[in-house]
Symmetry: C2
Subunit: 194 residues, 2 copies
Amino acid sequence: MRRFIVIGHEAHTSPDFSLEDIPGTSGRIDVLARCAATSFLLSHGIRKDAELYLVLCGPSSPPKTIRMVGAELKHLNPDERSTTALFLKALRINSIAESNSTPGIYISGMSFERLLGQLQGPFVLLKEDGEDLSKSRIPKDPVFVLSDHLDFREEEEKALMVHDPLVLSLGPRSLHADQCITIVHNELDRREAS
Amino acid sequence: MRRFIVIGHEAHTSPDFSLEDIPGTSGRIDVLARCAATSFLLSHGIRKDAELYLVLCGPSSPPKTIRMVGAELKHLNPDERSTTALFLKALRINSIAESNSTPGIYISGMSFERLLGQLQGPFVLLKEDGEDLSKSRIPKDPVFVLSDHLDFREEEEKALMVHDPLVLSLGPRSLHADQCITIVHNELDRREAS
């Protein structure tokens, strides 16, 4: 199993944004939609061995965590708009306990810190100054932790450090979260095949 | 310089589609918009050493080629809608000769075959059964050739084979074109850094 956590620092937690202007009205949920696409979509099919946790921290009722389960997902399309429409549907459910909104998509009031405690790890923090992923041992069933277009906050790094994560780098350039997920999958695909 | 060609087999060549439903009305120009994002966008900045050629083959006046030049691009955002709006603007120009629509974006009536002749190569065809990219010599100033969500047509492969391309694979899974571009960039970034 490959798991990814992406923190959406300003991502709206209420279904108050417009599909006609996702970047401008949702607190950059477009970033999270692209992460969903690269987490799950192959050219023909869905990665059933992946799970994605999107931690939404924006207005008006943070935190919310959207959990996406590859083995259960149906009809995930690669475009941002249709994926964001699935998130909108999830955000219309107002419950602290986890609820299912559409096949393979769940929402809860889980915080980042509590999510870390629940998943237990082993966590991998992707940062520019980490050890090179391609030369590193990657633990079984890793949980990769990424940030959206904004840097991790101090308290988030602190919460993660409690769990003693591996800190890995994907190369010399600083990339978008969805690009990082693509590269991690490719590295793991190659290792599994060889 | 890193160059990418992506063929949009059904991508509309007239500005007749809706930004409210890009996948459903444009012949999958959303695929090309995602390729533009991964061709050029870093976490903070634009890849100035990249060029992207999108060959549009759909209705109603094929072929059209949109050329994007990293060194000249301004205001390219990562979301599909704003990039597709730039393509719409380019498609409103009706000229066989190349014309500039917005900074770094050009459009012409160039066909895939003529484009290959103009670029000269060295071409790299990305296919599942190729040699592993990570273990291959990559020529200087490569031109990577990709297809959208549809397979290359026989006449396209034939036109490319005239130019004796390298045939490389990116790993064991079949990926989307935008994901392939991310992986190619990462491999070249690593090589340049080491």
